[in-house]
């Protein structure tokens, strides 16, 4: 009924006008108050004369794919065209180039040849019932070799970390056992005991260096187990994170201190107390390099090295938070609370809860894979779920029970492997479809050679992002600081358009006929003019100074700095 009302309203609007018709509509009729239209499956644009040429040009890009690489709307050149048509023309050309860039990126997808696999169960069975042994028996020998267990009974519980290219693994046992290895070839780099309690381990930018949070301080070792540094500014650290593009080592302290350390300079960027108690649940947002900490008051706070206050804090659970993770694209955040609820949040649109799941027994750790699978660790059980972000998950994709309680886990980048470290060792599980099948060799190359690694290290150092640029929105650097722009404009306007002040002056009464109306008026006028002249002179002086400064600045700016400038005589100021 409502629908019919709507159509009637429409009719009313349409009265007297020629009914508008889309060109590619086959037919359209109103049935029971609902307009049913049949569209031509092919739009008119597509119905071109079939090209008779043998080579009909480049392949048309899928608009959806194009949308994926779209950078947003372009410049409205029209408004600029009035001012300077040459610049407008150049901008138009640039716009074209940008669009071509998008198209080129979309076309380059053809180079991503690999596709990720998955497990499919028969009708009467579940994928979660397939064990690691089943998989190992079914897959090829190299893949099977990737699934293995390490029994380390003495120095547990273990923490673990993969390198960014997923090739190397570092294990750190609570009782001081530190081991680094190439887990694919099973080649051990080093194995030492630091003779102290070990709380967390972390790779630095390459596999040659790793940081270990020991009982008192953080130490840096190379891959042969040689101690390189002892960072005494990072004390009693519970959790380590490394920001690869900023070359920052972040440490979260037992007493609630957060420390950022620039490893290229060996300089501490900032260190401050969060006043939020013990910091153990920490993860980084790979999208914007913001640290996210989970607290016992149910909030998740986000920190940057630029402020001593959290940039945002979100109340996620009405209970203490047990685990937190952000997916590699930076879109989703998963939190697990003591209330045995797992929540998926929109990590960019803060505060929007997308999904909420109740977990039988509370999850002690959550981790996203590159392809969006979510692993939950509950006691000695680890479960992997698919489609958690869109609410499609109800049953686990895979399940594994380990011998002892799981302490830490991580999906291996570019591999279908989930590594779990327990109280009594480490095991890697094959999770089909977990890792990104296509790797970007310039970004992270699992098969990198020594020379390439050196090269990439230099390049990464050259393109190091300064710590000041860490904010929630990483695009803010390409945005205009509008408040400051406004301020500048206002200042300019206020200087250029000064009005003389209104002066209200009542002359004093004087004797001897000196306060006649004419005399009074004259006196008044004189005072008025004097004051106004004074004001305007000052204002003009100020304005001139401003203009001069402006000119000076422009002049200075317009001269590009040349290499040979250093030999010029220095200016005497």
């Amino acid at each position: 009924m409502m629908a019919s009302a709507v159509t009637e309203k429409k009719k009313k609007r349409m009265r007297g006008k020629k009914p508008w018709q889309k060109r590619n509509i086959l037919q359209s009729e109103v049935k029971d108050g609902v307009r049913i239209t049949e569209y031509n499956s092919i739009s008119l644009r597509e119905i071109k004369k079939p090209s008779t040429h043998i080579y009909p040009g480049r392949k048309v890009i899928d608009p959806k794919l194009l949308q994926k690489y779209s950078k947003g709307e372009g410049v409205e050149v029209k408004s600029i065209g009035y001012k300077n048509k040459y610049l407008a023309h150049k901008l138009k050309e640039k716009e074209k180039a940008f669009q071509e860039a998008e198209a080129a990126a979309a076309r380059a997808e053809i180079l991503l040849t690999e596709t990720s696999g998955q497990l499919l169960a028969e009708d009467d069975s579940y994928t979660s019932h397939i064990t690691q042994r089943d998989i190992r028996d079914a897959v090829d020998i190299t893949s099977a070799a990737k699934s293995f267990d390490l029994n380390l009974n003495q120095f547990g519980p273990y923490k673990m970390r993969f390198t960014r290219n997923g090739r190397h693994l570092v294990l750190g046992g609570r009782k001081g056992h530190l081991a680094a290895m190439d887990w694919v070839t099973k080649k051990l780099h080093c194995e030492i005991n630091v003779m102290e309690s070990l709380h967390d381990v972390c790779w630095l930018h390459t596999e040659t260096m790793m940081a270990a949070a020991q009982k008192q301080w953080v130490y840096i070792y190379d891959n042969q187990g040689i101690e390189l540094h002892c960072l005494k500014r990072m004390d009693r650290v519970l959790k380590l994170e490394f920001l690869p593009y900023h070359f920052l080592l972040c440490a979260a302290n037992e007493t609630g201190y957060l420390t950022w350390l620039d490893i290229t300079l060996g300089k501490e960027v900032i260190r401050f107390p969060t006043l939020k108690g013990r910091l153990e649940i920490v993860c980084q947002n790979p999208y914007n390099a913001v640290l996210c900490c989970g607290h016992s008051n149910g909030t998740v706070s986000m920190w940057t090295p630029n402020s001593r206050e959290p940039v945002a804090s979100i109340l996620c659970h009405p209970h203490p938070i047990k685990a937190i993770d952000i997916d590699p694209t930076g879109r989703y955040m998963a939190t697990a609370g003591l209330d045995r609820v797992l929540k998926i949040w929109d990590a960019r649109n803060l505060g929007e809860c997308l999904q909420s799941y109740s977990v039988g027994s509370g999850a002690s750790s959550v981790k996203f894979s590159q392809k969006g699978l979510l692993a939950l660790a509950m006691g000695n059980v680890v479960e992997v779920y698919r489609n958690v972000t869109n609410g499609g998950a109800s049953e686990p994709y895979m399940r594994h029970k380990s011998g002892s309680t799981i302490r830490d886990m991580q999906f291996c980048p570019y591999e279908d492997i989930l590594g779990i470290s327990t109280y009594h060792g480490y095991s890697s599980l094959i999770i089909p479809g977990a890792g990104e099948p296509n790797f970007d060799a310039l970004e992270a190359n699992p098969y990198i050679s020594l020379s390439a690694r050196k090269e990439s290290e230099v390049k990464a150092l050259l393109s190091k992002v300064p710590a000041e640029l860490i904010t929630l929105d990483p695009h803010s650097i390409s945005q205009v600081d509008t408040p400051r722009l406004q301020e500048k404009l206002d200042a300019k306007i206020s200087l250029l358009h000064i009005r003389k002040p209104k002066i209200d002056f009542t002359p004093r009464y004087r004797m001897k006929g000196k306060s006649g109306s004419a005399q009074k008026f004259k006196r008044k006028q004189k005072v008025k003019e004097d004051k106004q002249r004074e004001f305007l002179q000052a204002a003009i002086l100020q304005r001139d100074q401003f203009m001069e400064e402006d000119k000076k600045n422009k002049k200075e700016k317009s001269k590009p700095v040349e290499i040979l400038d250093r030999f010029k005589p220095k200016k005497k100021s």
Partner: protein, 844 residues
């Protein structure tokens, strides 16, 4: 000796000739003679004779030359007497040649003024140079436009060269020639033999035609002009009378149109009526009639002037009509209406006595009474009523015809249908009993018009009219009663409303059913109810109202909402098994939703009432996220957890909930939420701009220990805090966002704070830098293209200035339009200037 010769010597005559049109007559001859006479003028008298001789000689030589005449003008003769033979001269004077010559000789035009000449010269020079320079226009244009330039410009053309022109084939063999001639003679290509003249003749029009066309064009122009003038005058007019007349005319026209439409297209007429109604509503909203200056003045005059009184009364009536909400039927008790009636009577009395003054505060109660007076008969409503009577009767006739036809064809089916109809009637009746709201729906449905409260009103009014008994207070009575009455009345009439109800009802139900089947909606979820808004017109459902859920608002008083409800009700008709179910459908739904609501909000451990009340606040509840429905994951239980043997625990909800409760109690989640909201409030307070007072102690009052500054003084010197933009997290309850920490000063230093030259909007500038150019972000080719420098110079080569050869490159192409225009414009200007100057010179 004086001659009418030139007073100015032409120094640069050559130049002048360049620019000034050739002067009539020959100036040179005069000059020569002039000189000659000048000499003789100073000369001695002795030479007089010789001079005369010379003259005669000259005369002989050049007989056609006229200076002879001029000699007459000489006035002073020498002192010495010499005989000058004047007879010859006189003869000459008489001769026709003299006349002829005098005719030919004219005064030389006045030479142009110097500044003008110079200006003209400059203009011509500019033209010349402009031509010279403008030929580079295209080249410069292209240079400036191109995004990449590489120098030196001349680069060898390495392209593959082909022959530009193919020479015609030489016919060598006789066979070739023969074939060619055959082809040529066959005249496969028809030549266009029409000449240019013929074509022009074809195109030409006769004089009559042209005249006709001109006349037509003139007529159109004239009409347009008149129309525009009229429109302008009308727009200018401020006469109230004029506008009133216009309005009246417009109304009359509308009325006529409506009547016509009623006959031709009833549907459209209805729409038109609706539009009128909308206009009325709009006027009602504006309340212009009430607050106009005119009304104000009438109020003053009303005491003395009877006409003013009457006008005021009329205005009041109009106001009442307009301000009354359509469809408001105050469910007030009779007392209220009695009160109003009394007030009205009192007022009328006052009016009769002439003591009534609307501006008088003491008689305010009389005024108030008017605002409470319910709406009286409206013209539009009566129209509406008439209209519907017509429509109904027509429908009835149609229906009868259809029925007859149908009976003839298939009797059995008709019987079946009737049975169904009866059934449904029954159902409807039961519904009527249970919920009177349904009545409204049905009534509307009969009219085939959704959401039209006017219809109901109309019907009830009609009752009043027919009965002729009902007073205003009766009209205010309960709606159900009036409708029942209405039904009774109608049943007496030819058109039985009951029948119509059923008919329309069935039709609509079928439609809705079909639609719902198509859509396959499950509308029972609580969300569907959230849109229900509070409106007036509460009905008998008050029993259910005690169930206080925000989403399920039974106090809804709008018919549109009722229609929604009816939608749902009809949906349940799908299973026609139990009538009972339908009648109690709403209550059932209510309870359903209540249960669901409990389930949903239960996890938040908050009562529904507090939830709803909080959500109404501007500040968003931090517990909002708790309302996301929690789904159960089929997780396995770890071995080392206390409760062993608990696998997929779908059945053991109770235990689970118990455990949850224990945890909840242990950690006191309410406390956490509260703490968070305190924190947020604190942050908000901290970031708020502060109010500053510049009041100083001791100025204007006493100061010292234990003496507080007066509040008045503090207030006097207070500088109010500037109102900043709203906080970004103001709409999100569970987030504290610290913008200063996020977009901090160091970052702001790195950000751009000026808009570079061509950009005028921030959006445009940001769009221009939206694409990264590094090779990590874009493909290699694109990277190269985007980072090419605008100017590239080849090292080790001499970059020479452009030569005219460069022009040849662009010769083939048309010069850009703007250059051309500019040139033409320049030329025109120059021409115009010279012409103007000439004109001015002539006038001098």
């Amino acid at each position: 000796m004086k001659f009418p010769t030139k007073s100015v010597k032409w120094k640069d005559q050559e130049d002048e000739e360049l620019f000034v049109s050739a002067t009539p007559g020959d100036g040179d001859g005069y000059e020569d003679e002039d000189d000659a006479y000048m000499d003789s003028d100073d000369g001695d008298i002795q030479d007089e004779k010789a001079h005369a001789h010379l003259l005669s000689d000259i005369n002989k030589i050049s007989k056609k030359k006229k200076p002879v005449i001029r000699r007459d003008v000489r006035t002073s003769l020498g002192a010495g007497i010499s005989k000058v033979d004047t007879s010859g001269i006189l003869k000459k004077l008489d001769s026709s040649s003299l006349n002829k010559s005098s005719q030919k000789i004219k005064a030389i035009p006045k030479p142009h003024e110097k500044p003008f000449v110079l200006r003209a010269k400059r203009a011509a020079g500019f033209e010349k140079v402009a031509m010279e320079v403008n030929k580079w226009g295209k080249v410069v244009h292209l240079r400036r436009q191109s995004s990449h330039l590489s120098f030196p410009l001349e680069q060898e053309d390495l392209r593959f060269k082909t022959l530009e022109k193919v020479e015609p084939v030489q016919l060598r063999t006789p066979l070739e020639q023969e074939v060619y001639s055959l082809l040529h003679d066959a005249k496969l290509v028809k030549k266009n033999t029409e000449t240019e003249e013929e074509r022009a003749r074809k195109r030409a029009m006769s004089i009559q035609e042209i005249q006709e066309r001109n006349r037509e064009m003139w007529r159109q122009r004239e009409m347009k002009r008149r129309y525009e003038k009229k429109a302008m005058l009308q727009n200018k007019s401020k006469s109230r009378k004029h506008h009133r007349l216009l309005r009246r005319e417009r109304l009359r026209k509308q009325k006529l149109e409506l009547e016509q439409l009623q006959k031709t297209d009833p549907e459209a007429a209805l729409e038109k009526l609706e539009e009128l109604e909308r206009a009325r509503v709009e006027e009602r909203m504006s309340l212009r009639h009430k607050t106009s200056k005119w009304a104000h003045l009438q109020g003053f005059r009303a005491n003395k002037d009877e006409n003013a009184m009457a006008a005021l009364k009329e205005n009041q009536r109009m106001h009442r009509e307009l301000i009354t909400k359509v469809g408001t039927r105050a469910e007030d008790e009779d007392e209220d209406s009695n009160e109003i009636e009394a007030a009205l009577k009192e007022r009328e009395k006052a009016m009769e006595e002439g003591t009534y003054d609307p501006m008088n505060p003491w008689t305010n109660n009389l005024n108030k009474a008017t605002s409470q007076i319910p709406q009286s008969e409206d013209e539009s409503f009566t129209q509406f009523k008439k209209f519907w009577e017509e429509v109904n009767s027509r429908k009835l006739v149609e229906k009868k015809i259809q029925e007859e036809m149908a009976k003839k064809e298939e009797e059995d089916k008709v019987i079946d249908a009737e049975e169904i109809d009866e059934e449904e009637q029954e159902k409807e009746k039961t519904e009527e009993e249970t919920a009177s709201e349904d009545n409204n729906d049905e009534e509307e449905e009969t009219n085939g018009y959704v959401g039209k409260q006017i219809v109901e009103l109309d019907v009830s009014r009609k009752v009043n009219k027919d009965g002729n008994k009902t007073s205003i207070s009766e009209e205010n009575k309960n709606k159900i009663a009036s409708e029942k009455e209405n039904e009774e009345n109608k049943s007496n009439e030819l058109i039985s409303i009951d029948e119509m109800f059923d008919e329309a009802e069935i039709g609509i139900k079928k439609k809705v059913k079909r639609k719902l089947e198509k859509l396959g909606i499950g509308i029972e979820s609580g969300k569907a109810w959230t849109k229900v808004k509070r409106r007036k017109k509460a009905k008998c459902v008050t029993k259910v109202e005690s169930v206080t859920i925000e989403e399920f608002d039974f106090s809804s008083k709008n018919d549109k909402d009722n229609i929604d409800e009816s939608l749902k009700r009809v949906r349940t008709l799908e299973d026609m098994d139990s009538i009972q179910e339908k009648s109690t459908d709403k209550i059932k739904q209510a309870t359903d939703i209540l249960k669901k609501g409990n389930a949903i909000t239960g996890s938040g451990n908050m009562t529904n009432e507090t939830n709803s009340s909080k959500s109404k606040k501007v500040e968003v509840d931090p517990t909002k996220f708790l309302q996301v429905p929690t789904r159960k994951l089929a997780t396995a239980m770890p071995d080392n957890v206390g409760r062993s043997g608990e696998g997929l625990d779908d059945d053991e909800n109770d235990e689970d909930e118990d455990a949850e409760n224990i945890i909840r109690e242990a950690f006191a989640d309410d406390y956490l939420i509260e703490e968070f909201s305190y924190e947020k409030a604190a942050a908000r307070e901290r970031d708020k701009p502060k109010v500053v007072s510049l009041a100083l102690p001791g100025w204007g009052d006493w100061t010292g220990p234990n003496i507080k500054m007066s509040k008045r003084k503090i207030r006097k010197f207070r500088i109010p805090a500037p109102r900043g933009p709203p906080r970004k997290d103001s709409s999100i309850g569970n987030v504290i966002y610290n913008e200063q920490a996020d977009v901090h000063d160091n970052l702001r230093k790195a950000m751009v704070s000026d808009l570079p030259y061509p950009f005028t909007s921030v959006k445009d500038f940001e769009a221009s830098v939206r694409t990264p150019v590094g090779r990590i972000f874009v493909t290699e080719m694109v990277h190269k293209r985007l980072t090419t420098p605008p100017v590239v110079t080849k090292m080790g080569t001499i970059i020479e200035p452009m030569t005219e050869d460069e022009l040849v490159r662009y010769k083939a192409q048309e010069p850009p339009t703007y250059e051309k225009q500019k040139k033409e414009k320049n030329m025109k200007n120059v021409r115009k200037k010279t012409i103007n100057k000439r004109k001015r010179a002539k006038t001098h």
